[in-house]
Symmetry: C2
Subunit: 398 residues, 2 copies
């Protein structure tokens, strides 16, 4: 049965009068999430209080919901767990991977990676000392930079600024051939298109849930550990819920079985509940159709904007195979242009120094929304609506 995108759109509580092209940053509210979180608060926390950990199944949420994300990223069942933030999960993956590579001390990444991945790697190298280093090269130079000194290749599949997509399978093969491990950040992949962590041979993968998975602001992150590493990866952040027997309250840490050892502290039950409800949206969705429709919407947007707004320069690759689910344009006044566009009810976002980002999310975005967004953007550019002092003063933006 083909995916019914009108039906999926109806599952969201979309803001009125808004064309939302920022689901790559924060997905909108799934209707089921409000109801579910309300129920957890009043019926579970309110009525069960502490007994909710067992009776309402809170304690199992990180692995139960993790498995549902595992299905979306092609993981083997039982090898994804939720918790913390993406930054923390990056740290965990890197620390475990480095420890498995005692002879090498280089983390290789690219300058298009999201900064927190680089910062966390930098902090880990400082803590490790002894010559550990983060090496970054431009995205196009990654393949060539993989050599025998690299312990871990750490990449985000889709560039948060340009939307350029790495070839996950090829780079993983290349890294493995050089004897390195690979940590993939799927922040802009999970829920955007089909990912195959098992098939591509990723060693570790991490991601967040508040973008294409619509978990809400601050939703928990996830981590995947390949089955071949699951019993050997040592957690650096060895928290009690990653212990083999958390409720034995031993004085010494013993890692839990498999990916459960990547749990750290008490899981954020309200955020987990919002995520769990948000995942129901995917129940009757074919990811291949989502991808096809996303590319259609992207192509429609690219050709429409290029025809109507000659001053905007496409920053995303033209080849669909090299794209994620967002399209970016460059303009020196990108910040002000985005402010003017938002004032018209078209929400995208801006990334320094000059990137206008637009996310394409077929679950709730239609072709007519794309056409309307193009018309608004053309009006902003034609009328120089962005050229106002209040739009050109940069606020802190997300």
């Amino acid at each position: 049965m083909p995916t019914d995108f009108d039906a999926t759109r109806a599952l969201f509580d979309l803001p009125e009068g808004v064309i939302y092209l920022d689901g790559n940053s924060l997905g909108p509210l799934p209707r089921a999430a409000s109801a579910r979180v309300g129920q957890v608060m009043t019926q579970e926390w309110g009525k069960m209080v502490i007994t909710g950990w067992n009776r309402a199944g809170w304690m199992e949420m990180p692995s139960r919901i993790g498995d549902r994300i595992g299905q979306l990223i092609g993981a083997e069942p039982g090898h994804v767990v939720l918790g913390d933030t993406l930054s923390i999960k990056v740290y965990q993956a890197l620390a475990s991977a480095l420890e498995m590579m005692p002879g090498r001390r280089v983390i290789l990444s690219d300058t298009g990676n999201f900064p927190t991945d680089l910062y966390m790697a930098e902090g880990l190298c400082r803590t490790l000392g002894d010559g550990y280093e983060l090496r970054t090269v431009p995205p196009a130079d990654v393949e060539e930079a993989i050599d025998g000194s690299v312990a871990v290749l750490m990449l985000t599949e889709v560039d948060y600024r340009t939307g350029r997509r790495h070839d996950m399978a090829a780079l993983t093969r290349r890294a493995h051939a050089a004897g390195a491990l690979v940590v993939w950040d799927l922040a802009h992949s999970a829920g955007a298109f089909a990912v195959d962590v098992a098939g591509t041979g990723a060693d570790f993968a991490v991601g967040c849930t508040y973008k294409y998975l619509n978990a809400g602001p601050g939703g928990p992150a996830f981590i995947y550990v390949a089955p071949r590493h699951a019993e050997t990866a040592r957690p650096a952040l060895s928290g009690w819920l990653g212990h083999e027997e958390p409720f034995a309250f031993d004085l010494t840490y013993r890692p839990a079985r498999g990916v459960e050892r990547m749990r750290v502290g008490t899981p954020p039950v309200l955020q987990m509940a919002a995520l769990e409800a948000a995942l129901d949206v995917w129940d009757h969705v074919d990811m291949g159709e989502v991808r096809a429709r996303s590319l259609e919407l992207q192509d429609r947007f690219i050709s429409g904007v290029e025809a109507a707004c000659p001053d905007l320069e496409l920053a995303t690759p033209r080849d669909p195979a090299e794209r994620g689910s967002q399209v970016s344009f460059r303009h020196p006044e990108g910040y002000a242009i985005m402010q003017a566009l938002i004032a018209r009810g078209v929400i995208g976002d801006f990334r320094a120094p000059d990137i206008l980002r637009f996310g394409f999310t077929p679950l709730y975005l239609r072709a007519q929304d794309v056409d309307a967004a193009i018309a608004h953007l053309a009006a902003v550019m034609d009328g120089r609506e962005w050229d106002r002092p209040d739009y050109r003063t940069r606020a802190r933006v997300t």
Copy 2:
């Protein structure tokens, strides 16, 4: 104006037919929290989507709400920030403290500390290598064990099992005299009684919010960094929201000013909202009165249980100055006894190997509740109600 404990009790949505003596593990639902989280979901996330980070003030929640917790623990304004879990905050505090003590490599703690603190310290020492070690001694031996080898003294003020309270001021003085830094875990202190992190000279303090602060399951943790260290403490978990300019998206990490550098990833907005509403409960509460009333309730419980249940052995010190806000008894069949008590609607909890724990929370607990709890416990013991196979089979408990 004296604290009106009937009024504070009315602010909670307490489960019917239950006497809740487990607020030291998970506080009950404050009525305002349901409403507030519902509002954040539908009015903020739903209507503002990405713009909520600025328009609804989500981005400032970790410091805005952190400051309110700071008031409850005696911190200087602007020196507490929220986020992550307590385990992560322990790791951050320890890593920063160790780096400030280059000549010493010992973390000293006690065997009564909550295991995750010990596990996180153990994991950090493994990552640091080079002879870093966690040394643990029995709680009574801590003072004597502080010597010139100790880099950091890491203690939880109130023992999660026995309820024994350390002398925070004296041990901090002693550690400072030996040239060591101190990290205090206030998990069982914040909201239980007045804490004075500034006055006692704590270097770092951490804690959780789902116990006496009633933030709900998985509420965020907090960290305090003393002003004298705020600009020098280097974060090991250097995430983008702890960067001086997160939205500059620099490739290199520069720590934010002060305690803001202890932020890591995207804050869990739903959990933060629940916490913020829960903190309103404290608006007209005098912490000295809370402490006095807690001790009254504890004394009432101790004398009642000792009179009615001679087989239960008090595990908590008799001296009120050495107690937190919980009372514990030992019994070899403690697990089964707690199951039988819960079946009667009196909720406490069990901690291996033999501890029955009872938390005393004057905001919603009355003297008549304590009397009723004693009567139920006496009935369980007198009638050997615990002596059933299903009660004696241990499930995973929290």
